[in-house]
Symmetry: D3
Subunit: 221 residues, 6 copies
């Protein structure tokens, strides 16, 4: 049964209070917050002051996805803004081990995200030190993109690696997730489903979350 | 009589609809939107998706202040998000003339911002091509900082340069602006007063704007 | 039977018309055009205006090899200059999947080049989305260097990966290619042979191309 | 009487031999060679191998304009490629004095180029150590742009500075130079006129050079 | 029997003559010199002038570990300062093969260092061209850190790769090395033990080196 | 009467204890410590661990000159290492005012250094916030270079600016300072003389300092 983490990138930024309330009352377990700096990715989304406010509305887990360069510069600031989970990109970190250790020392769960072209075998040495891997199933930077189909195989391969390693690392999928592929993703090994447009652009977001939750619970395994 | 441009950096991001409504019904003429990328300044504030939403709430001028590196990468995107005025930093632009020309060609008013240490004489060649100069009277990156007192003299010096040049360039002051220094700023030459915390952290923001407007209208000149 | 792609890096830049005519009338199938920006590689070769001109002389495929950082900034420009095939470097791309998708969406064939030290296993996730891989058998930046012998094994390993993947991806070899190693390269799995100095510094370039073509057709496989 | 320096950026790159011959037989005194790296300016033009070839065709002065970052990395290489004069950009040099000293120590004349927005007063400390200043009268990166009219005043101001300094520094103008503004430029203080499209796109380039030469010789001063 | 390479990062910089004398008279075979530039790692340690002086005190091998970006800029300088062995970081080199070839051409032994998160399989193509691999068993930048336990497995995996390759490449371990883990490290495959604080902060550094030497010689293999 | 600040860049790094003792017992008032990161300048000298040790030997003022990029990253670390005065480069600081405020808030005196080509008029806005200006009279990066003669006029111009401003800012001269130009420098306005090779390469460094002190005290003004 997958954890559902709606991404607020597609929310109505004029009424975040209502959007947060909706998530709080929904079946979603986490808030997924996409921070983009215009450097690592070709978009600038939102950052610290917005997250600080969102944090005040919820007791659910705030899962912050840093699509930024030099994430070590802002690790403490995001902790203070309220992040419970902090994910950095493999492609953005020269000292990935130091980064995830710092995240954990500050009391957060540590995640590593992989761009679509980055193979999971590069995670071999870091798996023992992290709590989650975020498989980007679209290129990071924008909402509303189409799911990259080879991501399924990538998730399965990562699941295998994690099982063999014995470390309790969650697999998160981010990009193009919908009720149409949720079951397949969970079957491949996904533990957390991030969904943006498919939740917030739905007529009934609460129902969309419930459907995703349901779709993500019909695991064959 | 100075134009008042409340900066939404200090707004309640959970209720932007209400905050925008307040500005719309206030005496403020412009919305001031502070975009920070975590690279040019040590903070990540908000960017395109947030501004797109704010744009929908107002017919007042959206004055976007880019505290980002390589602003040319995002000039078109900010136009599309709804900017009427776009200000780039002198310190961030290798090709400042190209940048402001591009802003104007897209139909926006072009501004150049100066960090506190940057002297106004560096604007000599660019004055004919811009609509406004933003004098940073605090170091950009955070709200709630104290006004740097030598900014007054800097504004006066710039006013003199602009008068001699004959170009109709507005002077905007950003940082630590309050009812206490508004009159002095306007007397020194300021045409636009940006205020963040002193508006949004006030008990009555609408009244705070009105007071600022009033304070900024007692010009001796 | 390998495709021959003469690299114009070693051509006579005073008489490109004649050099292009020679290739057009030779057995070579592609023009290989090496763009160097002085940043990704320690040399600045030639770029857009030169390629635009070369494009006008030929109906053969223009295969442009970008040895530049941030290739996404110039993808559209190289399409407009006439590139049919556009290769970017693995080491230069944070968002490799986005880059090759953009190349294909513009109607070009997409390639990924690997520096000598970069292992082929890093291509695992990108193979389904590309048309060719360029194995650098010298360090990129200069013509006339000696072939790195371990490249043969690398080509063979990549061939194996491609066969197993089932995707129709061509293997291109670039650096120190000559009649002496052409057969071995093709036997190892090379589909496209790039040759610069060994063509243009030859007494009879047309004949050199023919010899390379012949050498590259004695495949044992 | 101004020196004429045709810029080969607008030449026919398929027939550089003929283009160079034309300049050699014309009234032009210098070859102007625009090197662009895609980093300092948003274009990649041509570099070392092209200049090496051009050098062989002429005994006229080769005036190389580096629109590149970190020009110190390539100073020696451009000397070896045949540059007689090497110009670096003020905006690209952290150690401008070191750069121009290195250029002179290698036996070349040293120049500093200014982007349109950069005021001439920034040259105060470097004037004693250079041979020429290049005033960009368009934004560097592309040929065929329109002359920025305030450049005239900038040239006049620089001329005044140079006269007062007593150092024999030439003023070069680059961008939108034509027979229409040549006289005005020379009157303002220009010593060297760079012209690209207005020479090479003319029906008769030799005549265009002669006309420019003539227009640039009717100085009022 | 492992080679012992004391790292002078933890030495008394006021009395380097004495510290070097101590190493010279000890059982240590190499001097290990950690150069940090404040860019690749978050510390600035020491560089060329310090190493030049140390070089004069010893005939033992000077093993210089460059924790710097763009090491190619300083390769020749470190040779001239007296390095016998020069190690660059995998994560810092776009053209790793060119870098190690340059090191060897200058007459030094070439090494590649891996940050804790970097898997050894990335060394596949470079192994034939290097003399040593430095496995960082702490995050580079500071002395006195705790050994990362999964480094043992990483060493064993690398040892296996080297054996299979047939190339005579030494494995060096750097970070948290002490008498407590020296035997385990050597058993896993380490050939060279770097030790800093555990030598220089010991009451008797000469004895500490001897103990390390002894601990590193009880190999089970 | 000028303050003498010997630069340890030219000291014997094997015997820093003795070198520091010599300065302590000399007429020199400050220790000048040149930190180079290989990025801002083309040399890597020494950094935090070396300065920490030097600090322990003296009660004289430790004047640290940061020839590094992004000095804000290391401001606190240099304070902790023992700096009393911290100088950053104008050319290295996007937020110069913030940097010097941070230095002062940590209890250090703040300085700004200018490369030879940087005009003093750029200091106009920062003078009220700093304690000293370092005029580089050679290009930073190496000891033993020749004094750039136009530095004298630059010092005089800065002295004039400082007098007119009324702020108590010291002028420091760094590069090629010797008994031959000390008097001229002080007459031009220098308050602090930095000397490296001319002290430490002298037969009698203590005497060299005394001579410099004496030469620097014959001010005509």
């Amino acid at each position: 049964m997958a954890i559902i983490a709606p991404s607020l990138l597609a929310a109505d930024f004029l009424r975040l209070w209502d959007e947060c309330k909706m998530i709080n009352e929904s079946e979603a377990e986490w808030f997924h917050l996409d921070v983009m700096d215009g450097r690592f990715v070709p978009n600038i989304s939102f950052g610290l002051p917005v997250i600080e406010h969102i944090r005040k509305t919820t007791k659910k887990e705030c899962d912050v996805h840093l699509m930024i360069v030099e994430p070590e510069k802002y690790t403490t600031a995001f902790k203070e803004a309220g992040a419970d989970r902090l994910t950095v990109h493999y492609e953005a970190c020269t000292h990935l081990h130091r980064n995830v250790e710092m995240i954990r020392q500050l009391g957060m769960k540590a995640g590593v995200a992989l761009n679509p072209h980055t193979p999971v075998l590069l995670l071999k040495e870091i798996l023992p030190y992290i709590d989650q891997v975020c498989i980007m199933s679209v290129n990071p930077g924008f909402g509303g993109q189409q799911f990259i189909p080879t991501s399924l195989k990538k998730i399965a391969e990562l699941k295998q690696m994690i099982r063999e390693s014995g470390y309790p690392v969650l697999i998160q999928v981010d990009g193009g997730v919908s009720v149409n592929n949720a079951a397949a993703l969970v079957n491949a090994g996904a533990d957390v489903l991030v969904a943006g447009s498919n939740v917030f652009k739905a007529e009934n977001p609460t129902a969309a979350i419930a459907q995703l939750k349901k779709a993500g619970s019909f695991s064959e395994v």
